[in-house]
């Protein structure tokens, strides 16, 4: 670790890992509710559990991005973070806000209160005081990072990262506008998380991946930057209008069917480019970096993002297909693999890279970490297949044959049971990962003698 302030990232990664554990545990509970529908129905209604599952995912991914930025910006800009105090204050605000959200939802406190109660909008139902807190935290973050970059060296990696993070924060402002027209409400609602995952987050992903490739493979910065610019250009070109594939279904004009279908079909391009980028860099790279776990997560990220976001997204993006599959388990299959591949693996990659350095234990517990990659990834991939098959059957029975929703759900039980099994593997993998990062142990396997590189 070259700069002292990089260790801010450790606190962020710590909180992120804790929320990661919460998120997958709730996922397991929800998976069980699918096979035992009355499980915890009084204590934790399905809608509350689902909201906690998705919200904790988003929050921990964001905390991971913030941590990644605090880790890599000093190294890229070649100076300390502008104000470490502000960085910790930002984390404190976010933790308080998250706790406030969870308590408000679980006990439905202050229902209907303008400032304290939940807003009743799916995914952006945070009470207003929490939303204000999120904006304050985001402003602190952007100020802190931008000041650091402005005073230091500007690289393509930090420029793209800042572009992504500024866009992310500005798009969140739509959460404050709640028009009474439901179609408009949904439109602004979509501007937040979907312009995130199909736009600004891809920029964050590309820049963090580029940083990892730079460190792990030792390929020239000039080459990495060229790839980065091409990836970012194709991501923005396809992603912004690509979100149009949702609009027709929320009540917007019919021409969005075509704009959405055509542009979102090209959203596979940046994900393919990121996968090609990661593998080409590794093949070209001359550096044999000892942190094989970080490299495994990076390659896994690029590959699973291509399949989850790219291929599984394209699977149902054309409006002729989506007419039948919209909101079925096909959507759930895509959502799980896309989030896991693109953003979960990315965070776990940068954590696997940075944590051993920050803790001065370079690079411990590679075996456990890599085992957790295979366990978790197999779990999510298996889950994706079970949900895809469930969705195919559901689409046919419910949307084509016209059977009732609950009758069809009964027939999907076997898929949900298998999905629960894969969920157990994911949770065990997550626990193994957290353990391997958090608990230092002696090296499991002695490194063998390296044969000289060609």
């Amino acid at each position: 670790m070259k700069y002292q302030s990089q260790k801010i990232a450790r606190a962020y990664f710590g909180v992120a890992m804790a929320l990661f554990a919460v998120q997958v545990t709730l996922g397991l509970v929800l998976g069980y509710i699918y096979i035992q529908p009355n499980f915890l129905s009084e204590l934790l209604p399905f809608n509350v559990g689902r909201m906690l599952h998705t919200n904790s995912l988003i929050v921990w991914l964001l905390l991971g991005f913030f941590g990644a930025a605090y880790y890599l910006v000093p190294e890229e800009a070649e100076r300390e973070i502008h104000s470490p105090k502000l960085a910790y204050l930002q984390l404190l605000i976010l933790v308080l806000g998250t706790a406030g959200v969870v308590v408000t939802y679980l006990f439905n406190l202050f229902d209907g209160n303008w400032l304290l109660g939940n807003e009743g909008r799916e995914f952006i139902e945070q009470p207003r005081w929490v939303k204000v807190g999120i904006v304050v935290a985001a402003l602190i973050f952007l100020y802190n990072i931008s000041m650091t970059v402005l005073a230091g060296k500007k690289t393509a990696i930090t420029n793209i990262l800042l572009l992504g993070l500024w866009g992310l924060a500005l798009l969140f402002l739509f959460a404050f506008y709640n028009p009474s027209n439901l179609a408009l409400d949904k439109q602004y609602w979509w501007f937040i998380v979907h312009l995130w995952v199909e736009g600004t987050w891809e920029l964050v992903m590309a820049s963090i991946l580029a940083f990892l490739m730079l460190k792990l493979t030792g390929v020239d910065r000039e080459v990495i930057e060229k790839w980065l610019y091409v990836i970012v250009a194709t991501a923005l070109f396809s992603g912004i209008l690509g979100t149009g594939h949702h609009y027709y279904w929320i009540g917007m004009p019919g021409y969005w069917q075509w704009i959405g279908s055509i542009f979102s079909s090209f959203e596979v391009v940046p994900f393919f480019a990121m996968m090609a980028f990661a593998f080409v860099m590794v093949w070209k790279g001359r550096r044999d970096h000892p942190n094989k776990a970080a490299l495994l997560w990076s390659l896994g990220c690029a590959t699973l993002a291509f399949f989850g976001a790219g291929v599984w997204g394209f699977l149902h993006t054309l409006h002729g297909v989506n007419y039948y599959t919209h909101g079925t388990q096909i959507t759930a299959a895509h959502g799980h693999l896309a989030f896991y591949g693109a953003y979960v693996c990315l965070n776990l990659a940068i954590i696997s890279y940075a944590m051993p350095i920050m803790r001065g234990r370079d690079p411990y517990n590679q075996v456990l970490n890599m085992a957790s990659f295979w366990l978790m990834s197999s779990g999510v991939v298996f889950m994706t297949f079970t949900l895809t098959f469930a969705g195919t059957v559901q689409t046919h029975l419910q949307r084509v044959m016209g059977e009732g929703f609950m009758d069809v759900q009964d027939q999907l039980w076997i898929f949900y049971a298998m999905r629960f099994g894969s969920g157990i593997a994911v949770v065990l993998g997550a626990i193994l990962f957290i353990y391997s990062v958090a608990v230092p142990r002696r090296e499991m396997i002695e490194p063998g003698l390296q044969s000289p590189a060609e």
Binding site: G254, I262, F266
Partner: protein, 184 residues
């Protein structure tokens, strides 16, 4: 081919690599749009032919000449940039952008006539595609005009090539749209 050769190939592209990424992306999107249009037309050839008869073919034909002439001026400007004739270069780029304005003016007249007839996106699938494809294209004409005026300021060969490359893409897309949407 070695890695060095590959890099040289990329560096040999006129203008800027990013401009070529954009141009290829644009061509893919317009190409996909036109293919979708032709595919949907198979389901209702008579309806499409009837809808098409509401368009101004002559005005669109004139617009083709306007845009091709404008592209020719941009191509000459690239030659000026290499020769270092900056005054002539700027004069030609402004003229090329001016012809872009003529194109948009004629296009606006066509849209206004359709609106007067009460024809819009939802009137018929033909008009959904016609308005989407030509509307997106018109937006690119407007963007291209701004780009031509911007590259006229530094007027370096590289900038002029990038601007002209984008303008030729706009030109090319129209030359494809005109027969597909207006004629056949």
């Amino acid at each position: 081919m070695s890695a060095a050769d590959q890099r040289a190939l990329i560096d040999d592209l006129p203008g800027d690599l990013m401009m070529w990424v954009l141009i290829v992306s644009e061509l893919l999107v317009f190409g996909a749009g036109m293919l979708a249009f032709l595919a949907v037309r198979i389901t209702d050839p008579a309806g499409f032919a009837e809808a098409q008869s509401h368009l101004h073919r002559t005005a669109a034909g004139i617009n083709t000449l306007v845009l091709v002439t404008s592209g020719w001026l941009a191509a000459l400007a690239v030659r000026d940039a290499e020769a270092g004739a900056l005054a002539r270069l700027r004069w030609r780029l402004v003229l090329a952008a001016g012809l872009g304005a003529v194109f948009l003016w004629l296009k606006a007249g066509e849209y206004a006539d359709l609106a007067r007839e009460g024809l819009s996106f939802d009137s018929h699938p033909f008009f959904t595609f016609h308005l989407l494809l030509t509307g997106f294209h018109a937006a690119h004409v407007a963007a291209g005009m701004i780009l031509l005026l911007i590259v006229a300021l530094p007027a370096t060969p590289r900038a002029t090539e990038a601007g002209a490359a984008f303008w030729h893409m706009v030109d090319l897309v129209w030359v494809l749209l005109f027969p597909v949407v207006y004629l056949i």
